[in-house]
Amino acid sequence: MIDFEYVRATDLASAVRAGAAASTRFVAGGTNLIDLMKLDVERPSHVVDINDLARRDPSLAAITELPGGGLRVGGLARMRDVAWDARVRERYPVVSQSLLLAASGQLRNMATIGGNVLQRTRCPYFRDTAMPCNKREPGSGCSAIHGINRTEAILGTSEQCIATYPGDLAVALVALGATVHVHSPSGQERTLPFASLHVAPGTHPDRETTLRPGELITAIDLPALSAARRSLYLKVRDRASYAFALASAAVAVEMDGRTIRNARVGLGGVATKPWRSQEAERLLAGKPATEATFHAAADAALAAARPHRDNAFKVTLAKRTLVRALTEVTA
């Protein structure tokens, strides 16, 4: 790991000012950044520690009620605290489950919500500095497209990059339509829909979010959404625990008897960014909760899939994952 200058920020204004400098990274939990720094994939010259911001302003790590029934989750709240929060578990089971099915107990104690959603979209070649990677070194080429690509994405890919967005929480948040609060170096606060936070690789796979230099996620709002109470996260992995998703589904439904009034659908493990399928949602709305309905929705969700040599199985797996998630959530 290259050496760097360490700065411990004590207030938000100085944190974002320091964070706006070139080659600077924020660190909170550190679980993704430090891993990548050890590999020389991330090589910041300055690292700004934002953990103390929550000492000055505890709301940055808190979970608070919003008028109208939503919840505000501080950007510095730890995955563990959000996962086990009674309000989150009752009103947003899909959020709690996505967190508890992610990472390990130790990592959930460390990683923050802001850092979790901003973890790097990555693949084995991104982590291997001996191999070309357009995300790590723009223009160097993609090793995965014609390489070993079993775990790569099938949705939202480009000719430059097929790396999978690995997170789970973000899949739940994009399905629910969460809102992101961002503090900018200019001192201004801005909000953006969660769906606008991440971008597909396109021709710039090195750019993964719409955040500008120095911008910091201060909170994420979970909306008041009646479907959210009837929601779940289903994750399929190579092993039973502590692994990335091969396919996952975040689903939330509002039912009227056996009819689906409306539904939210997110897919993980298969896309280059947290993936919401409004095609599937449209096919579920107003339909009876039957296997035929679920299959139609799953077919629609994966209609645009573009598998590569080793990951065609993900098309079938993702469909079955979604069908099972919808079956369970409407049961």
């Binding site: 760097f4 679980t31 430090i34 050890k38 390990s104 107990g105 130790q106 104690n109 460390m110």
Partner: protein
């Protein structure tokens, strides 16, 4: 005022320190006394005083007492031993041979660790009475008790020489400007450790390589195996995926801090009773994780334990024993209604 040659025939400790350092600080005397106590009064040595001014001190030892004469401020001695601005400690045995030295900050954690470390490297020492009975015999075949005590005390002295937090600014001012190392104060197992660390040093490396606490293991070094698990403010975290400098002001517990004296933590005992390990490499991480798991809101089933412990990999496959150990402690806690931590 004495000269170094005055002490030939007795072990001598030379301690060099920066101009800002006050050798008369009371906490140093406390450090020596704790060390002497931990040695069990091997030589009946007792610390009398530390005093005086000047850039360096020597300590000389007798069997019955310890006196601290002030040497003439002879910079030639510092030159002869190659000492610059860094603090340094040299132990010179009864025959004038340098037996132990430490230049720059050292990281041995406390007098007990110091004594233990030195007893490992020291040859069996010669009983001081033998010297009395055979005064002409060359004592270089082994260490005398006095040499041993002198060396142990010197190591403690080197410990005391490390700049404390109040001196951090001065220490930083002395450091070359291109160097990012800074004084990092960590609270580990209830003790304060001041270590000079670059920011890129992980907590795991700080514990193992700088503080001598090798109980926390480096398995994958990427947060995938759990063998580096420690408690930070009571929660299990991965010491390989956090920088030590980030942990100032937080309470760190390692496997070394789990037992109470010789009494094992119930989880340590349960791992032994239930055969929760084979090679033992992952065990300290498993135990630290298991202790913390019982403070997390998991359910009571074996499957809950497996899920909660999935961040700790065991290459030997001792999982059935690990699950049994965790469940045994859980049941005992439920019966006793007692807390997890001692």
């Amino acid at each position: 005022m004495h000269r170094l040659s005055d002490f030939r025939g007795s072990p001598v400790v030379l301690a060099f320190h920066g101009a800002q350092w006050d050798p008369a600080r009371a906490e140093h005397i406390e450090t020596y006394n704790r060390l002497i106590a931990s040695l069990g009064g091997v030589a009946g040595t007792r610390l009398l005083q530390i005093g005086g001014t000047g850039p360096w001190r020597d300590l000389s030892f007798t069997d019955a007492s310890l006196s601290l004469p002030v040497l003439a401020a002879d910079l030639a001695i510092a030159e002869r031993y190659g000492v610059g601005n860094d603090p340094a400690v040299f132990v010179i045995d009864s025959t004038g041979v340098v037996r132990w030295s430490q230049v720059g900050p050292i990281s041995l954690a406390n007098p007990t660790d110091v004594a233990r470390a030195i007893s490992v490297v020291a040859a069996p020492f010669v009983d001081a009475r033998d010297e009395v009975e055979a005064p002409n015999e060359e004592p270089s075949t082994g260490w005398t008790r006095r040499d041993f005590v002198a060396t142990a005390l010197a190591a403690a002295f080197a410990l005391a020489l490390r700049p404390v937090e109040a001196h951090a600014e001065r220490a930083a001012a002395l450091a070359p400007p291109t160097h990012t190392a800074r004084l990092v104060t960590l609270m580990v197992n209830g003790r304060e450790l001041s270590l000079s660390l670059e920011p890129r040093v992980t907590l795991l490396d700080a514990l193992r390589e700088y503080a001598g606490l090798t109980g926390s293991k480096k398995g994958c070094d990427h947060g995938q195996c759990g063998s580096c698990t420690v408690h930070i403010d009571g929660r299990r975290e991965l010491s390989c995926l956090t920088f030590a400098v980030m942990q100032e002001g937080r309470r760190i517990t390692t496997i070394e801090g789990l037992a109470t004296g010789d009494q094992l933590h119930p989880m340590q005992q349960a791992f032994i009773t239930n055969d929760g390990f084979q090679c033992g490499y992952c065990t300290s991480g498993q135990v630290m994780s298991a202790v913390a798991v019982l403070d997390e809101p998991w359910g009571p089933t074996d499957d809950d334990v497996r899920e909660a412990m999935s961040g700790n990999i065991c290459r030997c496959g001792a999982y059935p024993g690990i699950v049994a150990a965790v469940q045994e402690v859980r049941r005992a806690q439920a019966t006793n209604g007692g807390g997890n931590r001692q």
